[in-house]
Subunit: 211 residues, 2 copies
Amino acid sequence: MISISKEDFANLSKIHRLNLINSCTGYKSANLIGTISKKGTKNLAVFSSVTHLGSNPALLGFILRPTTVPRHTYQNIKETLFFSMNAITETSIKEAHQTSAKYQEDINEFEATGLEEECKENISIPFVKKSPLQLLCKYQNEYEIKENDTLLIVASIEKMYIDKLLLTNDFWIQLDKGNVVSINGLDGYSKNSLIDRLSYARPNEKSNSLK
Amino acid sequence: MISISKEDFANLSKIHRLNLINSCTGYKSANLIGTISKKGTKNLAVFSSVTHLGSNPALLGFILRPTTVPRHTYQNIKETLFFSMNAITETSIKEAHQTSAKYQEDINEFEATGLEEECKENISIPFVKKSPLQLLCKYQNEYEIKENDTLLIVASIEKMYIDKLLLTNDFWIQLDKGNVVSINGLDGYSKNSLIDRLSYARPNEKSNSLK
């Protein structure tokens, strides 16, 4: 085992530090957030920090660095309150990654990257076509994390669109059936395959497989 | 595609709602948090909400429901400020899952689940032996998410222990080389394999593979 301390982090080059610290918390979710500005420009950006916050009410959170790339996402969400969240699949990792480029504000990342847009009836927010798991979300609140000037955005899940192949009888979504990927660090995209589902754990009892 | 709305979520049974909403944000990180109480009782609990918050300073966050199982983790962190974070691997998913059982406060989950404890020199916090990626973290702050009465815990990464097989020349940690798993929903454990690493994205340029 190699041991690396806080003091060592400070002495690393910026890119080495980004690589190390971005990959040390484990696998991250892989989602594309779709928004539209008041003027009507559509925006799409990859996020790896989307996290489940609670089920009742259905809430999720994600982290924003207000001074870097996803600023258009933030501006648009503040203007319209709504956004889409689209699971990234194995066949679209290159296009999804490309949305992290610093495009100008008037650039529509669907057009720039070739990801196909899907319009839903009565919803102006763009979705990513062929994504097997799409959420319509609504901004609820933001918390300033003063330790590093980031923002935690809290949003409610208003509507969910799922490829029925992914949904089991007990309403669990089996993500690998849709080839949904996870993210390793800043730039690694990972394929997943289910090992097992385990029953609710109780003291002094062994969990069973639910597969 | 099946469409499920917010109103439908409310009509689902509790377990169906938990399954659905816990799995709709994508894959989650899989970590065991190790703590010790002031009295000296060691505690270990599985967490799927650990998220990278920033690299400089090195910060991570995770979500706590103060009224449910991981309360001992919270109490201990508040008492001692320190905790360990240990990546869960394929061979230990059953034992890791078992730590989510509601054990009494005086139960040491290392002993109850059979996960082997590792002691580091001059550190009282217990680590999980054989985990290829272990972090020593220090509590920095907490934010009350008032939308659902959860807490975001913010912590600094003080020290990192990595199996050298996982660390690349540019300080990226290749998690699948350590058989680190991800979590799908409440109870699904997933194996990972790297598809590709992609170079920094720039407008009007194609990313290259970094593998």
